[in-house]
């Protein structure tokens, strides 16, 4: 897979410079990790929209299921955290199987149906108290382990884990988009009927994209539960796991692969580090205004805006 020099430099900076420069500042590292969690969901959400052509309001279902599966596996069976995280993703895929009937719905009908599923999973987590701990939730969820004397549950360790997870997701997203499936999926955007005529099984492809998106969100949910060490239904299936990633993806540019990640990190850090220090209660107002301005002046989001700016500079040079 081709990675540009700039891309390699950014990856190297993310792995080396960020821990070296900011690693001692727990507060900033905490914000960065939280923003990357939002970024992971935003990426998965944008993948479903871009490649599957579906707008989801129910990604909190995958996030919550992934978190619960991973937490329960580590707590009840003693499974290692990383294996449980992967199975958290698988759990989210299994949860998405029950959503298959709504794949035939389009637009707002699909979005609302998947939102209803999220609510159903929340009720299951609340009522199935013998397994999930009910509304009281699960406390003392196992943390990330030590690896060769390095504590992965610390801020730097957690950051490196989520960074690796997100890079793997980006690579998977790129590979899918560049594959034959990706071409078929993009063709479906223009005309689903036309692609069906040439023999593309659009429902199957959409289902596959739903599985991939669910898996990614489930793994991020699983990461979050081992990072926070606490879980309860209201938190696991909170609407915030849908709204914030959508805002981040739109802000960054949901049509691009990196847009949702860049959007999440930018929106979260600017809001928490700048706006919040200026307006402690009510800083979200500024963020809202900024989002509106972004949609008006650059409907494609931040990434296309940055690219346009960079092209203009190259042309001027």
């Amino acid at each position: 897979m081709y990675v540009s020099k700039t891309g390699l430099a950014v990856i190297a900076a993310a792995y080396i410079a960020v821990p070296l420069v900011l690693g001692s500042n727990n507060y900033v590292m905490s914000l960065i990790v939280a923003s990357m969690i939002i970024g992971g969901i935003a990426l998965a959400w944008a993948l479903l929209g871009n490649l599957g052509g579906m707008v989801s309001f129910g990604h909190s279902a995958f996030f919550g299921v992934g978190a619960y599966v991973s937490a329960l596996l580590t707590m009840k069976t003693g499974m290692p955290v990383f294996a449980a995280m992967l199975l958290g993703g698988v759990g989210a895929v299994v949860a998405s199987l029950v959503m298959l009937p709504v794949l035939r719905l389009k637009g707002p009908y699909f979005a609302l149906a998947i939102l209803a599923y999220a609510h159903i999973f929340k009720i299951i987590a609340t009522e199935w108290s013998s397994v999930t701990g009910g509304s009281a939730g699960l406390a003392s969820v196992p943390r990330f382990p030590e690896l060769m004397g390095f504590d992965l549950s610390g801020k730097i360790g957690s950051y490196l884990i989520i960074l690796t997870v997100l890079l793997a997701f980006v690579a998977a997203y790129r590979a899918i988009r560049a594959s034959h499936y990706g071409i078929a999926l993009r063709a479906m955007h223009d005309s689903e009927d036309a692609t069906r005529v040439v023999g593309v099984n659009s429902t199957l492809l959409k289902a596959l994209m739903l599985f991939v998106s669910a898996f990614m969100t489930g793994v991020v949910g699983a990461f979050n539960v081992h990072y926070i060490n606490f879980l309860e239904p209201d938190y696991a299936f909170s609407g915030l796991w849908v709204t914030l990633p959508i805002v981040a993806a739109i802000f960054g540019g949901y049509r691009t692969i990196l847009g949702p990640l860049v959007g999440a990190v930018t929106v979260y850090l600017v809001d928490q580090l700048i706006f919040k220090s200026l307006i402690p209660s009510g800083h979200q107002l500024v963020l809202g205004a900024l989002l509106v301005a972004m949609i008006i002046f650059s409907p494609g989001g931040l990434m296309p805006l940055l690219r346009k700016d960079s092209r203009r500079k190259h042309a001027a040079a």
Partner: protein
């Protein structure tokens, strides 16, 4: 200028410098962090607790005479990840301990982060039992589900009723309390009907109807929040079940409910630390009330009282640790663990898990636009109006 003169002037300068340094040291403020939800879904309760914390700062700084406390507040926006970030931000600003926290899902991760940083964390905002079962030695809590359960069960014992129906929200704190109450009442031989409801519902008529026609209980117990109580009481007022009392817990016997829902509240019971209008008999209570009225120009509520008590206990522990020179050697945790004193919420003493073993709430009853404390008898300010319902 001779040598004597030079030495005298140098000594004079040194003495002046020393006295100035000493002055700075004695006037040094001890920094305490308040991690609290001031925005988001818990903003109202967080703001109430924050008022109590501010009053505690005012009273402590006025009465201690030796140390002064400065509180730095960080809004956790009612979100666990931001609660962790808030604690870490406060730690970076040099606080010696954290007061605040609301909602067990925020308190859990935030107190965990504080523990990792070696900071004591005291709260009254989360009653989930798992918080004190984590083996964290830096965590302290002044209230718990057991205190609310004891108050409800104690009131029912005074009423001498034999059956009860419990309507409870499936949220963590309310569900825990409802199940604890059920267990204890069943053990006492009472008949208990359980009726869970999703926090999103607003129409309680089906549940009330079920209680009226099927349970036929003597009293209805409600474990919910303000909107839930209003919905339940409205439904009960329409269907008029044949019960002798409507009993709730937190957020019900409050001045706000007296003012906002005068038609729904008569004879309704809820947990209350103080009657309304508030009567403070102790010196500490009077100090609190005066400072609260000065700062906020209103009657203090239970959130303010809890915030005040947890913060005063913490500030006193910090002062004792500072006196012993153990402030940065785990002294605050040691001093908090030794706490044993009368407060506005009764005597506070922590067990080895950091839970207040003496916490027992009081029960108040809405009577003629006021709130009278009716249980326990030694704290009562009025006679229980029983049987009595709002319809």
């Amino acid at each position: 200028m001779d040598w004597n003169c030079i030495i005298r002037s140098k000594l004079g300068l040194a003495a002046l410098a020393l006295s100035l340094t000493a002055g700075v040291a004695s006037a040094e403020e001890l920094l305490v962090g308040a991690e609290i939800p001031l925005t988001g879904s818990l903003a109202r309760v967080g703001s109430g607790m924050n008022e109590g914390i501010s009053v505690a700062v005012e009273v402590f700084n006025k009465t201690n005479g030796k140390h002064t406390i400065k509180v730095i507040t960080a809004d956790d926006e009612s979100a666990p990840a931001k609660a962790i970030a808030a604690v870490e931000k406060l730690a970076g600003q040099g606080v010696v301990a954290i007061t605040g926290g609301y909602g067990s899902n925020n308190i859990g991760p935030a107190s965990d982060a504080a523990n990792k940083l070696g900071l004591p964390y005291i709260t009254s905002g989360g009653v989930d039992d798992s918080l004190t079962e984590r083996g964290i030695k830096t965590f302290f809590r002044i209230n718990n589900t057991a205190g609310y359960r004891k108050a409800m069960v104690g009131l029912l014992a005074d009423m001498k009723v034999k059956s009860a129906s419990v309507i409870y929200s499936t949220k963590e704190a309310t569900a825990d309390l409802a199940k604890d109450v059920q267990k204890e009442l069943t053990a006492q031989g009472m008949t208990v009907g359980m009726h869970a409801f999703d926090p999103a519902i607003t129409d309680f008529k089906p549940i009330i109807n079920k209680i009226r026609l099927q349970d036929k209980s003597e009293v209805i117990l409600m474990a919910g929040y303000e909107n839930d109580y209003v919905g339940i009481l409205r439904a009960a007022k329409v269907l008029k079940p044949d019960v002798k009392a409507m009993i709730g817990v937190w957020s019900l016997a409050t001045p706000k409910m007296v003012a906002d829902f005068p038609d729904l509240m008569p004879s309704v019971y809820g947990t209350a630390l103080l009657p309304f209008p508030a009567e403070f008999k102790s010196a500490d209570g009077k100090l609190f009330a005066d400072a609260y009225k000065k700062l906020y120009n209103k009657e203090p509520d239970y959130l303010g009282q809890f915030g005040y008590v947890q913060s005063m206990i913490l500030f006193e522990a910090i002062a004792r640790a500072a006196d012993k020179g153990t402030l940065k050697k785990g002294g605050v945790v040691e001093e908090l663990a030794k706490t044993d004193r009368e407060t506005l919420i009764g005597r506070v003493r922590f067990n080895d898990k950091g839970d207040n073993i003496n916490f027992v709430h009081r029960m108040g009853q809405h009577q003629n636009g006021k709130i009278a404390i009716v249980w326990p008898s030694d704290a009562a300010t009025g006679k229980m109006n029983f049987p009595g319902v709002p319809w």
